[in-house]
Symmetry: C2
Subunit: 245 residues, 2 copies
DNA sequence: CGGCGAGTTGACTAGCGTCAAATGATGTGG
DNA sequence: CCACATCATTTGACGCTAGTCAACTCGCCG
C-alpha cells in the first residue's frame, strides 16, 4: 500500500532517502531524482511476506531501502534453494522480463522503493549513467553468484559455512549505512534461520548446525545464541572459507 | 597476434562479421560499427590455450566469434570449478574491473574480437543502446548462473547431468548461426571431456561417466562415442533435469 | 505450567568420492 | 601396417561426507 504523502513531500522523497547515495539511483542528479520520485511508491513488507511469486508475471522493480530479502527457487518435489540474499540498496526484479524466475521473500521487515518495470526502464534508457550503474551492479551480482557457484560445486560443508559467516561479516562492514560501527567489532547478529543458511549453501539444517558447532568447539567463533556469534579468529575463518589448507 | 589488414578492410570487419547481428555489437548501427572496428583486433587461440589468467590484471574485453571458452576457478588446494561456458556472441571480461576473477581457457579453437576494456567502456558510455544490450546480456548470464546454483545446491548427480545435456542441446538449437539445422536433430556432438563436465557440475569425472552410463542403460540417450550422444527421449530427459519425479 | 517452534545431538544410511585396474581411442615411429 | 605408448573413459570395490530420521533441549509466549 502506497504511503499517503503530499506532492511536495513526494518530490523530495528520493532526494532525502537515506540509501539513495549508495543505490543505483545515485546515478541521477538532483533534478532527475524528482522524475524517479514521481513514479516511485514506498511499500512496507512484514518479515515472512512474499513480495513476488516464482513463475508469475510481475512488473515490480524495487530497490531495498531497509531489510533483508531472499530469492528462492522451488523444485517440483519440494527441494528449495536460495539463489541470492539481498539487503539495502540491492535491486529486486529484472528490467527486461516480466516473468519472475524466483520467489522474493522477506527475511526481516522490508522497506521497498517500488517502480513499474517499464517506467523504470524508460528512465534507464533516457539516463545512460543510470544504465551504467545498473550494469555495474548486475555485474557484481554475477560475480557473487559465481563465487557461490564454486563454493556449492567444490567446497565442503564447514568451508561453506565459514564462507557464509565471512560473507555476512563483510556485508555488515561494507554497508555501514546505519551507524558508523567500529571495524574491529567481531560480533555478528544475523536474521537467518539454520534452514535458510542451509537452503543457501546447498546443505541441510542439521549439517549447518553441526558445522557451526564445530567452528565453536575449534574456537574459531563463539556461539552466543542461535542468531548471534562472535568471531574469535577471523584469519583462520577466512582460511577455512578459502579452503586454504 | 593481430591479423594484418588494410585500413579499408578494417572498417568493414565489424559490418561483415558473421556474429555481429547476434552479439552485443548489434546495438551499434552501421556508422558506429566503424568506430568499433577501429579499436578491435581479431585473435585466434588454439584449443587448450589460456586467454586470461585468474587473479592477473587484464584489459581484455572480448566477444567470441567462434569456439568455446570455459571460465574456471582454482582453489588453493587444487580443486577446480568451471563457473561458465561461453560460445559465439558471448563476452569475456568485465568492463569495470581489470582484475580477472577467473581463468579463461579455450575448450576448442577460438576466434576472438578483442577490445581494450576502457576503450570499449568509452564506446558503451557514448552509446547507451550498447550499454543496454550489455545489461541485457549480463542479466541473462546472471539468470543462468542462478539456474546452475540451484542445480549444484539441490540436485542429484543424474539430474545435473541430464540438465547439462538438455542445456547443450538448447545451446545448439538456439544459436543456429552456422547452418540452419533441423530442429528434430537429436544428435549431440560436444567438445567437453568428462572432467570438464564434472568441474562444471561439481562432480567427479567418474560420477559423470556413471550417470551418462545410467541414462544410456535407461534408454533416455544413446552413447554413440565418448563425445557424441543421441537423445532418445527428450521429454524424459527434461523431466529428470527438472527433478520432475 | 504446558505447548510450540527452532536448534542441537545422536545413530544410521546412501550417494558420491577415492583409488585402482581394465578397456578403449588415438597417435607415433619403426 | 603393426607394435607400442599415451591419454580418456569406463568399471569395480570401498570409504567417507553429508543426508535422514528421531529424540532431546532450549527459549519463548500464552
Amino acid at each position: 500500500m502506497p504511503v499517503a504523502v503530499s506532492v511536495g513531500e513526494m518530490d523530495l522523497r528520493c532526494a532525502t532517502c537515506p540509501v539513495h547515495h549508495h543505490a543505483v539511483c545515485q546515478a541521477l542528479g538532483g533534478l532527475y531524482l524528482h522524475e524517479l520520485a514521481g513514479i516511485m511508491t514506498h511499500r512496507h513488507f512484514e518479515a515472512g511476506t512474499e513480495i513476488v511469486h516464482q513463475g508469475e508475471t510481475s512488473n515490480l522493480f524495487g530497490i531495498i531501502a531497509s531489510g533483508v530479502v531472499k530469492l528462492t527457487r522451488l523444485l517440483p518435489d519440494g527441494r528449495q534453494h536460495i539463489v541470492c540474499l539481498l539487503s539495502e540498496t540491492d535491486c529486486i526484479g529484472d528490467v527486461f522480463s516480466a516473468e519472475s524466475h524466483d520467489n522474493a521473500m522477506c527475511v526481516t521487515d522490508v522497506e521497498l522503493c517500488c517502480f513499474h518495470r517499464k517506467q523504470f526502464d524508460e528512465i534507464v534508457k533516457s539516463h545512460p549513467t543510470l544504465g551504467h550503474h545498473l550494469l555495474q551492479r548486475v555485474t557484481v551480482d554475477l560475480e557473487e553468484a559465481r563465487q557461490w557457484l564454486t563454493a556449492l560445486g567444490r567446497k565442503k560443508a564447514v568451508e561453506k559455512v565459514a564462507m557464509f559467516i565471512v560473507w555476512m561479516w563483510n556485508e555488515e562492514h561494507e554497508h555501514c549505512l546505519h551507524a558508523p560501527r567500529r571495524v574491529n567489532d567481531m560480533m555478528l547478529h544475523f536474521p537467518f534461520s539454520r534452514e535458510e543458511i542451509a537452503d543457501f549453501l546447498g546443505l541441510t539444517l542439521e549439517t549447518v548446525s553441526r558445522c557451526i558447532g564445530k567452528l565453536d568447539v575449534d574456537r574459531v567463533i563463539t556461539l552466543l545464541n542461535a542468531k548471534c556469534i562472535e568471531i574469535r579468529d577471523l584469519d583462520r575463518l577466512r582460511q577455512i572459507a578459502e579452503s586454504d589448507i
